[in-house]
């Protein structure tokens, strides 16, 4: 079994056609894995806990409809934080389930006819209580980043800071959600390509 996470999630067998496509972009393959390692397996450098990282990954993979990745991250989350937290993350992901990207452009942009407002996820008291202030803010921010990134604002960052996230931690959280937006699409695309006979 390969240790490359994208190969594992997309079932890319050594020597297969898709394996050959990836070998031709060896630096991208190696550094996609290095990105995963930096975010999920390396010693933490900015003070974002393993449970926080895995909870956000479970939430983000659920929003993407990425079943295998969700099983992977949820399994690790449950081992790290227990079933109750994992169940709560799944519950709030189900509440945030919708189709993106959507959102309003900034007022300064002359793109009014492209505005498409949609769900702004706000966790209820039971979820906020179970997940805590930091993770509640992180999950709400992850929903913004995944589904309506064009609605990002200084106010959204202020909400993270006031929930206890430092500037370097916001960078780590943003990279985490943004990296997953990449990883899940590579896994999905390679899976479809693998299943499309040449």
């Amino acid at each position: 079994m390969t240790s490359d996470i994208i190969d594992r999630l997309a079932d890319v067998a050594p020597g297969s056609r898709v394996d050959g496509l990836r070998q031709r972009r060896a630096q991208a393959r190696t550094n996609s894995q290095a990105s995963y390692d930096a975010l999920f397996t390396a010693p933490d450098q900015t003070g974002v806990s393993r449970t926080e990282r895995l909870a956000v990954a479970t939430f983000v993979s659920s929003l993407h409809g990425a079943a295998r990745a969700h099983d992977h991250y949820r399994g690790l989350l449950q081992a790290s934080a227990g079933r109750q937290v994992a169940d709560m993350v799944d519950r709030v992901a189900a509440e945030g389930d919708t189709q993106g990207p959507y959102g309003r452009f900034p007022d300064s942009a002359d793109l009014r006819d492209e505005d498409s407002p949609g769900l702004v996820l706000s966790l209820d008291a039971a979820a906020a209580d179970a997940l805590g202030e930091r993770l509640t803010a992180a999950v709400q921010h992850a929903h913004l980043l995944v589904l309506r990134p064009r609605e990002s604002s200084p106010k959204a960052l202020a909400a993270l800071l006031s929930a206890g996230w430092s500037t370097p931690q916001v960078v780590t959280l943003s990279q985490l959600v943004a990296f997953l937006s990449f990883q899940l699409r590579v896994v999905h695309g390679l899976t479809v390509l693998k299943e499309s006979n040449a």
């Binding site: 991208a28 930096a38 990207p101 900034p106 996230w165 390509l193 499309s196």
Partner: protein
Amino acid sequence: MTTDQVLRPAVVPPAHFTQATIGWQPWLEPVPQDQLTTTQRDALIDAGRVKSEYFRLLAHDPAILKARTLTDNDIFYNPDAGLPRGEREFAAAATSRFNGCIFCASVHSRFASHYVHDPSDVQRLLDDGVVAELTARHKASVDAVVALTRTPIAFGPDHVVSLREAGLDDQSIADLVHASAFFNWANRLMLSLGEPDAAGVEL
């Protein structure tokens, strides 16, 4: 020492998607240039990026910045077979247009215009969005990019069939997937950590 506060930069916000050179201003404090550690400098890969507030903001977490930059460089600059450079850039621009990242779309539409055979398609993409009327090969690419960029992800076997009919081999399709997936990463950082500035200079 970096403070944990939100910045409110004075910018001239761009009103449209554009190929013009625009700048970008951060909403959080970057690592000051004279305080970058060796690890942070190493993570920038390109030494010229010490001037960039965007990359110095990302330098707060150097390990992921370094791996991300090396991934980026191979997806877009590796010339060995696969999708021509201009079409990788076109996929980046289309992804950015669909997600709504005016800054990313400006940079990569300029690169795409420089390289592709039908540069007028690039401006049509910016003006009309991903429903723009384009030449057949660009249209197949944009349709695939849009499906891949949707959440939940909607890319499927029909897109592969259309791309093959448009003349893309599997290495090119894999490149298209990576270019678009990578801009789903880049757009979210650019959109959420700062804002475009029509009066600003290139990063």
